[in-house]
């Protein structure tokens, strides 16, 4: 019996499945805005997740010498600042700088003192971010004068640094990781809750359905933003809590959509057949109802992801998101707003990444809706 149903059911399901998805893919690929958005989104994701592996600076690495330096494609330090930095470093070692010369990547300096100079004094010269690998190349006056040679440590800050002297590029990468991860995980949480709830409610029907949907209606009229804020404030700003809280409030629409789908599905013949074969309700919901609601659900998920990213960034903007030195796009934007006059790049770069990603996600959502559900428009 079971062999026969399998041989009958499987090829049919496979054929229908391929053609539906192939058609949807065909329609999606033809949509230029969506394809371009997809490419942009992949680029942003690769930048955020892959970037931290190859980029030389870490997101929490502080460069005391480069606090709030503007974005630039030329390497720091600037030539004309080097003498001053060396002067300060030498003075800190309680020595005198007699001569200093730098040529892009290396420097030479002649340093003197009244007493013989300890070789360990060169450590003082390596301390600023600008200089590296100082080496004594020659001594004179019984060690009272030394010649030092070292490297000028070139650093690139294409997006500038923040007011703590951290490079903005890796911070945007890490912020993107957090925002995208929270967006996907929270959507997944709401997907699981919403689909299960909606499918059960629609499938069981009757009084149970009434009660369950009444409950959803009550939840709709609650000020949810405030509940999330309350949860996060009172139970700590934990990463997991943030996406769990967001996911737990965003499942309502999903539950409604799935319920509607389920109501029309449960009168179909294959559900009756499954019932006749003696499958339990839960098995039918899992094997027949939920897989068939997947079209509208996929569309809704693409709408939900940007919404969740927005919500997370909003929390971060209020200072309720992930904690320093961790960051997210929302926190970066919040940080940028407080110093727009002096350091506008702290607002502009994160905002550009954030808005671009949201745009891309929205266009992909539109494209998917057109592709999967052409009657919808």
């Amino acid at each position: 019996m079971s062999e026969m149903t399998q041989s009958l059911a499987e090829p049919v399901a496979a054929m229908r499945g391929t053609s539906l998805w192939a058609m949807a893919r065909h329609r999606f690929v033809r949509n230029k805005a969506s394809m371009a958005s997809l490419v942009i989104l992949v680029l942003v994701a690769v930048f955020s997740f892959g970037g931290t592996w190859v980029y030389p600076h870490r997101y929490d690495q502080i460069f005391p010498s480069y606090v709030a330096v503007p974005p630039s494609l030329d390497p720091y330090p600037r030539e004309d600042t080097l003498l001053q930095v060396m002067q300060t470093a030498v003075e800190r070692a309680r020595l005198r700088l007699d001569a200093f010369d730098a040529d892009g990547t290396t420097y030479t300096a002649r340093i003197s003192s009244d007493k013989p100079i300890d070789a360990r004094a060169t450590r003082y010269l390596d301390r600023p971010d600008e200089f590296d690998s100082a080496e004594i190349t020659g001594t004179a006056d019984d060690g009272r004068t030394i010649e030092v040679k070292g490297r000028v440590n070139a650093q690139y800050f294409p997006f500038g640094t923040d007011r703590n002297g951290r490079d903005l590029v890796p911070r945007i990468m890490v912020g993107g990781q957090v925002s995208i991860t929270v967006g996907l995980l929270a959507t997944f949480v709401s997907l699981v809750i919403g689909v299960t709830y909606g499918a059960v409610s629609g499938y069981v029907g009757g009084r149970v359905d009434n009660v369950m949907m009444r409950f959803v209606e009550i939840l709709y009229s609650l000020p949810f933003m405030f509940f999330v804020i309350m949860l996060v404030v009172f139970f700590g700003r934990h990463f997991v809590l943030i996406f769990a809280a967001i996911g737990a409030i965003e499942w309502l629409d999903m539950a409604r959509i799935v319920r509607g789908q389920t109501l029309s599905l449960k009168r179909r013949e294959f559900v009756e057949a499954a019932l006749a074969m003696g499958l339990t309700n839960w098995q039918i919901i899992r094997r027949h109802v939920i897989p068939n609601t997947i079209g509208p659900v996929v569309v809704f998920v693409t709408v939900l992801v940007p919404k969740v990213i927005l919500l997370e960034s909003f929390l971060s903007f209020l200072g309720l998101g992930v904690q320093e030195p961790m960051t997210s796009w929302g926190s970066l934007i919040a940080e940028g707003t407080t110093g727009m006059q002096a350091v506008p790049w702290l607002l502009i770069y994160p905002a550009v990444f954030f808005v671009t990603t949201l745009f891309a996600l929205n266009f992909i959502g539109d494209g998917l809706r057109d592709a999967l559900d052409p009657k919808d428009r």
Partner: protein, 307 residues
């Protein structure tokens, strides 16, 4: 109709009750309290404070007490702003939020509907595409990005408008906050109106009106608008409640003395009664505006009857 309104208002009571209960217990099971300061208080002082605010009683007693007071319209004293009751704090700040919100709502609704209808009349023209791409920009860019950027451009770079503060509540102080608050909603209204207007313009009664030779203006404003507004109205309820009770972001960015701020401040300081007060306020607004929206439905669509 009156009976319908009364029934709806009555059915709001359990909703608000659930909100109050949920937020009350959620707050209390969380660690920390309003008097857990960095420098601990004298035990005697702490005890007196706790007694004064009933915090030494069992939780259920406090809950009952709060409900009893709430039923009498008393939101209780603020834990942190010691000389004020929560009602006073809200009463003081709500007018600011309401003024700001009312302007933003007006701009969003009328602007959105006008722009959406205009785009619908010139469907697939350059104007349509331009308007709708601006609208999708408005939907995508959240106001915590929009508000700082507007303030940066118009206050910091151009020096045309003040960067923040309420001032005397004049137009100069209000323009940027109102735009920041209104633009995202305006974009949504424009999109919804465009969609429904395009559909309505294809309806039979519009074709009839055109066939009679009525000018386009009359056809659109008198005959099409009413039907086209229904989807936009359904979006109005939650938006109105959110906008009128103050946007936390806009109030923070422009440092305005509204209600939104009190919620975040209250939550951060564990000011239980203040948080409860703002939550109750928001829920009441949501309930009232959902009701208003349903009544508006009946006005716009004569097929809708409430018994």
């Amino acid at each position: 109709m009156l009976r319908y309104v009364l029934r709806r208002l009555l059915s709001a009571v359990p909703t608000i009750f659930i909100v109050v209960t949920l937020s009350f217990f959620l707050m209390r099971v969380a660690p920390g309290g309003p008097f857990n300061l960095e420098r601990p208080l004298e035990p005697q002082v702490l005890e007196n404070l706790k007694r004064a605010f009933l915090l030494d009683q069992p939780l259920v007693v406090q809950y009952g007490h709060y409900l009893w007071n709430l039923a009498h319209g008393d939101l209780g004293p603020s834990f942190i702003y010691r000389d004020f009751t929560v009602s006073e704090l809200i009463g003081k700040s709500l007018p600011y939020s309401m003024t700001l919100g009312a302007w933003a709502l007006l701009v969003a609704v009328f602007g959105g509907i006008a722009i959406g209808s205009y785009a619908a009349l010139r469907q697939n023209s350059f104007v349509d595409y331009a308007v709708m791409s601006v609208a999708s920009f408005g939907i995508t860019v959240p106001n915590f990005v929009l508000a700082p950027i507007l303030s940066f451009v118009f206050a910091v770079v151009l020096h045309w408008l003040p960067a923040g503060g309420w001032g005397d509540g004049g137009p100069a102080n209000l323009v940027l906050p109102v735009i920041s608050l209104a633009l995202p909603q305006l974009a949504v209204f424009a999109r919804i109106t465009r969609g429904s207007m395009i559909e309505t313009l294809r309806a039979d009664h519009i074709r009839t009106a055109r066939a009679y030779g009525l000018p386009t203006r009359v056809v659109v404003v008198v005959h099409a608008m009413r039907a086209a507004l229904v989807p936009a109205v359904s979006y109005l309820g939650p938006v109105a409640a959110a906008v009128l009770t103050g946007s936390v972001v806009v109030e923070t960015v422009y440092s305005l003395p509204g209600v939104g701020r009190y919620f975040v401040l209250g939550a951060l300081n564990r000011d239980y009664t203040l948080v409860m007060g703002t939550v109750v306020l928001i829920s009441v607004f949501i309930v009232v505006f959902n009701l208003l929206v349903d009544i508006l439905y009946a006005v716009l669509d004569p097929r809708v009857r409430y018994e």
